[in-house]
Symmetry: C2
Subunit: 240 residues, 2 copies
DNA sequence: CGACACTTTGACTGTAGTCAATGTAAGTGG
DNA sequence: CCACTTACATTGACTACAGTCAAAGTGTCG
């Protein structure tokens, strides 16, 4: 369904930007060659659905941001995961994905067919182990977010999200030196997406961003580009 | 720290109630004997902390319910996971647990020391694989709960939780035949715990339970014992 | 320029939170 | 046996935070 709009190219591991950080890092030269044989590079434009319930896609994210969403029957939506390079995308060992994956920005993937990939998983225990560790980290993040959704105020939520993106998004265009407590980055999400991730409405998100700006906690270059003069202060606002 | 208050007995796999459903089901006779050598049965009374940040505990839950909680510095608390038999407890491959595990009821565990257990994981890939599948399911549940915390009303949250317990708690004293749409079970949680799991206050939980009772969606035998005359109706109320 | 997508701002509303009192049941000790 | 305590739950009155509905603002693209 998504195939006709997406470019497909054979994967080139030797030039891959996430070669050592992605799950591929668990493989030897020969094993990698094996994986490479079934890999295809794909470009997905902003807003396009990557994995509907029917066709599961497994892929490394090379560039861009992917949102995982769940929706109630009346349309209320919640983003349940945000994925950045070099994250692995896809619900393995399941008949159908329990959520939608959608490109939040233009996305570049290194995609694998379901069958071939799951076969390789059983063949190379190190690969499965790496993916297991990934999954454990994702579970920790999800539970961290449950605390935010269940207990934090709108103000704290917005601050927490900005902080999270400042930390995770360096690979998608963020400047952040851990010593100097300053950060500048570009939000990969619209206000509506921020709201869907934070369990708020877009109006509330907008108001909170305006407040943080007025107080000098953040500066806005434009709607997407954000400067955090002092990350410590943002951390205070975020709660924890 | 918890040791002095908890009974410890050698594990008896042949009499184990969760022998085939727990992760042990992935092991052969001989492998199981290996695991058995390092296993100790432990009883934990209601309210006692099982794993603080320092001492990680790995265990199968044999009986009772364990809650995983996260807390903000000012005391706001969120339950980020509820575990029933035969769930596996513990954050493997981590220096310290990112959350507290606490006995929501009296709990019986089959516990393993960290080092010995992680060694066995590397030795028996099937064991790790089983645990991996567990973790994937937990991640799905966590994300399901994110949708609840971010988007559902108080009424829908309470209904969803009752439904979840009706489904998951058969091993801790629930009667539920899938054909007949009737269910009776005992809540393993206080109102305060329900609130901490649902991201609400205990007053709001109490009011919603009262409303559901008044409408005949549920009946209360006592504060803990609940009858659902028609699970379909409860499902409607839960949203989705 | 006008159209469109996204964002901000304003006025008002409503759901769930807060604070406080009351209710209920089990357990203790005189 | 009954007062008393303790823990947990319910109910009520009031409040506040975020949601809703509506309008106006901003920037980009054709």
């Amino acid at each position: 369904m998504a195939g006709d709009m997406a470019f497909e190219l054979p994967a080139k591991c030797d030039r891959c930007v996430v070669r050592h950080k992605a799950i591929c890092g668990a493989l030897s030269e020969n094993e990698l060659k094996d994986l490479n044989r079934i890999a295809r590079q794909r470009r997905i434009p902003t807003g396009q659905v990557i994995a509907a319930d029917s066709d599961i896609v497994f892929a490394n994210i090379l560039d861009g941001v992917v949102k995982l969403t769940k929706t109630l029957s009346d349309g209320r939506q919640q983003i349940v995961g945000l994925q950045f390079p070099p994250d692995f995308l896809g619900r393995i060992y399941a008949k159908e994905s329990p959520y939608f994956a959608e490109a939040a920005t233009d996305v570049e993937l290194c995609a694998f067919p379901k069958d071939g990939f799951e076969r390789m998983l059983r063949q190379y225990p190190d690969l499965e182990h790496r993916l297991f560790e990934n999954t454990l980290d994702e579970l920790d993040s999800a539970r961290e977010w449950m605390l935010l959704l269940g207990r934090k105020t709108a103000r704290e939520r917005v601050a927490s999200l900005l902080l999270m993106i400042a930390r995770r998004a360096p690979d998608v265009g963020c400047t952040h030196t851990p010593e100097i407590r300053f950060s500048r980055f570009s939000l990969p999400l619209t206000r509506a997406d921020l709201a869907d991730y934070l369990g708020l409405t877009l109006e509330t998100v907008s108001r909170q961003i305006t407040n943080l700006k007025k107080e000098g906690v953040i500066e806005l270059v434009d709607n997407r580009e954000i400067i955090v003069p002092d990350v410590d202060i943002l951390e205070d606002v975020a709660g924890n």
